[in-house]
């Protein structure tokens, strides 16, 4: 059984009402854009990498450490062609997160309860929404629910869904980043989607 599933509490009742997502203008995905230098690539991927690490680690500082370590190791692959940077970076970050998860589990298992995304300020980082506090709160709670559901997934399913759906890597890149076959990616993705659909029915 996946250990994370026991620690995640049910989302609050207020978070059940999902605010509609505004139709945002087409945002150019920094990881998909053709970064000509590794510095540009790392600069563009930083915020997305942080959210990915935050889902796996649930600790702001740990997530920042993981991103920094991944960026540092990525510099060793400067000579690789730019089209290889995306799967390489996510692969490095994924492995770094696993390392930190193991260390954290060893260090904290008996000392303190693991934080959860529904805990609010301590886990989910979110900018202050002074312009529209109500909408800001709804969006934040909706994302907290989504993050809780994603974190409760088995690790491989979470990775497959995050990389393939949220980060929009193609199947081959996802397989490369996860170090598995494309068939395995599809299996993990399908199972993750089935579980998430049951938990986040109102997101559709």
């Amino acid at each position: 059984m996946h250990a994370d599933a026991d620690r995640d509490p049910q989302p609050s009742a207020n978070a059940g009402a999902v605010a509609p997502v505004p139709t945002a203008p087409a945002v150019l995905d920094p990881t998909q854009a053709a970064a000509t230098t590794l510095e540009d690539f790392l600069s563009g991927v930083g915020t997305r990498a942080f959210r990915f690490a935050e889902l796996g680690l649930r600790q702001r500082e740990d997530a920042l450490d993981a991103v920094q370590d991944a960026m540092m190791r990525m510099l060793g692959y400067r000579e690789r062609p730019p089209e290889e940077w995306t799967p390489l970076f996510w692969s490095i970050l994924r492995r770094r997160i696993v390392d930190l998860q193991r260390r954290s589990a060893f260090r904290l298992r008996w000392l303190q309860p693991a934080p959860t995304h529904a805990d609010g300020d301590d886990v989910i980082d979110w900018a202050d929404g002074r312009a529209d506090p109500s909408r800001h709160q709804d969006n934040r709670e909706a994302y907290a629910r989504m993050a809780t559901a994603l974190s409760a997934l088995p690790r491989r399913q979470r990775e497959a869904f995050s990389l393939r759906v949220l980060e929009e890597l193609d199947v081959a890149q996802t397989a490369q980043a996860m170090g598995c076959s494309e068939g395995s990616v599809k299996t993990h993705l399908s199972r993750a989607r089935d579980t998430l659909k049951r938990q986040l029915e109102d997101f559709r």
């Binding site: 997502v21 505004p22 945002a24 945002v27 510095e39 790392l42 600069s43 930083g46 915020t47 997305r48 942080f50 959210r51 702001r60 920042l64 991103v67 920094q68 960026m71 540092m72 510099l75 980082d125 979110w126 900018a127 202050d128 929404g129 969006n139 934040r140 909706a142 994302y143 989504m146 993050a147 759906v165 949220l166 929009e168 989607r193 998430l196 659909k197 986040l200 997101f203 559709r204």
Partner: protein, 132 residues
């Protein structure tokens, strides 16, 4: 018949796509809603990561120049000391050779000082004496 079978598949696919799109939109919003504090920390860490590389690049010509100068100085000092060490050896070796052959030294000196001896050796008198 086939169309009947395909409809649920098509509906499922559409449902999956809608679901993915909704979650992707939430995720994009979350990425855009990172606090200024975390953004600043990310930038700071990115600069920290890139600083040693940039520093090495900037220092690279200086290091090369310093290394070349050091090498030149080391070579110059080394060659100078080698010459200083080698000359006394050569001189003392020559001295040793001269002193070692002290018996023949006087003869050689005499021959050097008397070229007439060589002329006499080539003369008929010398041939006659040798043939007797």
């Amino acid at each position: 018949m086939n169309e009947d079978r395909q409809h649920p598949t098509r509906d499922n696919q559409r449902s999956d796509d809608d679901f993915d799109r909704a979650l992707r939109a939430r995720h994009r919003e979350a990425v855009a809603s990172l606090s200024p504090r975390v953004r600043a920390q990310l930038q700071q860490r990115l600069r920290t990561v890139q600083a040693p590389v940039a520093g090495m690049r900037r220092r690279h010509p200086a290091w090369t120049l310093a290394a070349a100068c050091s090498l030149a100085v080391v070579l110059a000092v080394g060659l100078h000391r080698r010459d200083a060490d080698d000359n006394p050896t050569r001189v003392s070796a020559a001295n040793a050779a001269i002193t070692g052959s002290n018996d023949n030294g006087e003869l050689i000196a005499t021959l050097d000082e008397a070229p007439d001896l060589y002329l006499w050796l080539a003369s008929d008198d010398a041939n006659r004496i040798l043939s007797e």
